[in-house]
Amino acid sequence: MSTELVTMNIGPIHPSTHGVFRMRVTFDGETIIDAEPIIGYLHRGSEKLAEERTYTQVVTLTDRMDYTASMTNNQAYILSVEKLSGITPSERGVWLRMIAAELQRIAAHSVAIGFLINDLGAWHTPLLYLLREREKILELFEMMCGARITNSYLRPGGVFMDAPDEFWPSLNKFLDEMPNRLDDIENLLTDNEIILARTQNVATLKKDDAINASVTGPMLRASGVDWDLRHRNPYDYYEKISFRRPLGTVGDNNDRYLVRLHEIRESLKIVEQCLDLIEPGPVKPEEVPFLVRPPEGESYVPIEAPKGELGFYLVSDGGIAPFRCHVRAPSLINLTLLRDMVIGYKIADLFVTFGSIDVNMGEVDR
């Protein structure tokens, strides 16, 4: 039977493109023949803006890149600045930012899973259950730094302010409750035959392809590669912490979902260990000035952000502002294989696959 190909522009305004993302997709009936991602609708020129701001002011820009994971963005940037200017952070500050980063990972993965299931067509129910948990994390962030999304909590050398007294009981309460909530989510989703049927063996990504395409983060681990920078390149104090790294066996959408879900559990354990190890002290060394002026040089410190390897490549010319600030954005690079992954599958799989990659348009376009 001869058929006519249909080319459709999906996005930039579409319910499940997670922001302003556009795909030019060619269908043969329901089957995808070609898909081309078109991005740039949220481009704000963060890298250029960073060249005109002092090192501390750039922290506020990093909040707005991956806006579901501001704390880890802060962390990646601050680590790079510290390496560049040779600042030794104070101990409590590092523990605090590790706690913040792991909480942020839970929040970001909650959003990722929630919207993935939403793309599968569940009428917002799992999403709202997960957002309910994320809300508690955001409240914890509000206690720590007064903001929920755009935190700007970290400073070169640590964090700007110790967490308040009421933070710790709330955090403990959250850590107690969260595993039960996760069990709920697993009951609702993990064994659900519809979800299994929709996600298993769809958009399978092989190990070698994933590495070759610089895919990182949960997506790489779902393909079975044991590469977690917290384990292989322990920045901050991750070497004092023991945690397991969930890996997928097949590398399809279901594995990407499972890996994220289990990483939430591991993050909870990491936060608990941090709580055991944190000790009173200054959160920021006194000698670090408000206006950091690193020597000439360059630095790149990759960290394990919720979306993948996130690193800030900073070049300094000795001034108060970075000479060049490049963001290695995991969302953008993970998108490379979108076309290869979806070809041959159905329309509905396109959105599920896109959701399982877990991109954040703020970070893709910067």
């Binding site: 249909v6 459709m8 579409h14 319910p15 499940s16 269908f27 329901e30 299931i117 939403n118 793309d119 599968l120 067509g121 569940a122 009428w123 917002h124 129910t125 709202l128 259950y129 309910r132 609702l188 993990t190 064994d191 659900n192 035959e193 519809i194 979800i195 299994l196 049927a197 929709r198 298993q200 063996n201 769809v202 681990r221 044991d226 977690d228 384990h231 397991r244 790294r245 969930p246 890996l247 997928g248 066996t249 097949v250 279901n254 594995d255 499972l258 890996v259 289990h262 159905k346 329309i347 509905a348 799989d349 396109l350 959105f351």
Partner: protein, 405 residues
């Protein structure tokens, strides 16, 4: 006056208008004034009165369902649902209706104007035709046509035409994909639905909806669970409700076949869908929950209403819980799953009815037991053997492995 005179509520009103001789026994108040030779006038007056009542009841029902669905889904999702307009947000659907009416009516340039306008009308009108034939109570029904089961199945399938028309006429690619999906899905699910309904007819021994209710000693949902499940799933698909809402598929096709509709045309689609939900629930209550039957200390109409709301709540519960299936999986489910299950159901029922044509109480219980055994067996076999093919890929519960240190 034909079959409509069987209806108590019709005749009651008619006899209070007409001076027809046969009416005198029905009349309670002696207020009739239309002479016998002009009885067609009283017939028309009565008919218009009931049309008015039924249409308005259906519309009010839709408003109630919109409110109830949003409110209940809100509770399922641990939030409140609409709460700003009126107590408990009761007036929200009214505000919605006003908003929809006053929106700009946009017609896309590429649309096929006539079909574009006709499609929403075709969505709504057939659904109204279901309400008169449903027995709402022991005496409360408007008409009892002898082929009621066939009639409701026929009427409910008209909306696939409307969806196709809407998708085609919009001249929008999202809409046409939605329309084509709808036709494929709705036509497929007609078949398991019809065969399951045949199970009901075999038990009742009649195609009349009143007889179906009268002969349901044990509610069919308990008596023939397999038929009930297949019918429930098939009618969920017929209604385009989650998990079969691929025709609208918000996360894929924006709004499917009604992407380009706005204003009251969109409102009619909305109305038609919700009314179809109400009508289908009424059919399910009639077929599988023994309609208005129940202990007599409560009026039969109340029984019917309670069961009705319960079935609608099941649909809402499904919507709050399940993700959507993919188009090929939906087609497989219809042809490789429900079709066979409904055939097994009808086969077993037919055999049993052939053995016990007029079952006594104990025999009925035995038949129920056999039906449940068949139900579990066939679901088990279906899950084991058919489900790998059903979904297009072999599904197996999986867990993660952990990286070695």
């Amino acid at each position: 006056m034909g079959p409509v005179r069987e209806s108590f509520i019709f005749e009651f009103l008619y006899c209070h208008l007409s001076l027809e001789a046969s009416c005198s026994s029905v009349r309670v108040l002696n207020i009739a004034f239309i002479p016998e030779n002009l009885s067609w006038i009283s017939f028309i007056l009565t008919a218009f009165f009931w049309i008015f009542v039924f249409i308005n009841a259906a519309l009010v029902g839709v408003l109630a369902l919109i409110w109830g669905e949003r409110r209940l889904i809100g509770k399922f999702q641990a939030r409140l649902g609409p709460n700003r307009w009126g107590p408990l947000g009761l007036f929200t659907p009214v505000a919605d209706a006003i908003k929809v009416m006053f929106k700009e009516d946009i017609e896309p340039t590429l649309s096929d104007k006539l079909i574009y306008v006709l499609a929403p009308i075709l969505m709504v009108v057939p659904v109204f035709m279901i309400f008169p034939v449903i027995p709402y109570g022991a005496k409360t029904f408007l008409t009892n046509i002898s082929v009621g089961v066939v009639f409701v199945l026929a009427i409910t399938s008209i909306n696939s035409l409307s969806v196709l028309m809407a998708g085609w006429a919009s001249g929008n690619r999202f809409a046409i994909i939605g329309g084509i999906r709808a036709v494929a899905m709705l036509l497929s699910y007609e078949i398991p639905m019809g065969i399951s309904a045949a199970g009901v007819v075999i038990v009742a021994g009649s195609l009349s909806l009143s007889e179906v209710v009268n002969n349901q000693v044990i509610p069919n949902a308990i008596f023939q669970p397999l038929g009930f499940i297949t019918f429930l799933v098939a009618s969920t698909a017929e209604l385009n409700r989650s998990p079969f809402d691929i025709t609208e598929a918000e996360s894929e096709l924006v709004a499917g076949y009604m992407t380009d509709y706005s204003s009251m045309k969109f409102g009619l689609f909305y109305l038609g869908e919700f009314m179809a939900t109400i009508a289908s629930s009424a059919i399910i209550v009639t077929f599988y929950f023994s309609g208005w039957r129940g202990p007599t200390f409560i009026p039969s109409e109340i029984w019917f209403l309670a069961k009705w709301i319960g079935v609608i709540a099941i649909f809402i519960w499904f919507r709050a819980t399940f993700p959507r299936l993919r188009i090929d999986q939906i087609m497989s489910l219809a042809w490789k799953g429900l079709f066979e299950l409904s055939l097994i159901n009808i086969l077993v029922l037919a055999l049993m009815i052939a053995i016990w044509p007029d079952p006594s109480g104990m025999q009925l219980l035995l038949m129920t037991l056999i039906n449940w055994v068949v139900f579990f067996l066939s679901i088990y076999i279906f899950g084991k053997i058919l489900s790998p093919n059903l979904t297009g890929n072999k599904i197996k519960k999986r867990s993660v492995i952990y990286g070695l240190d």
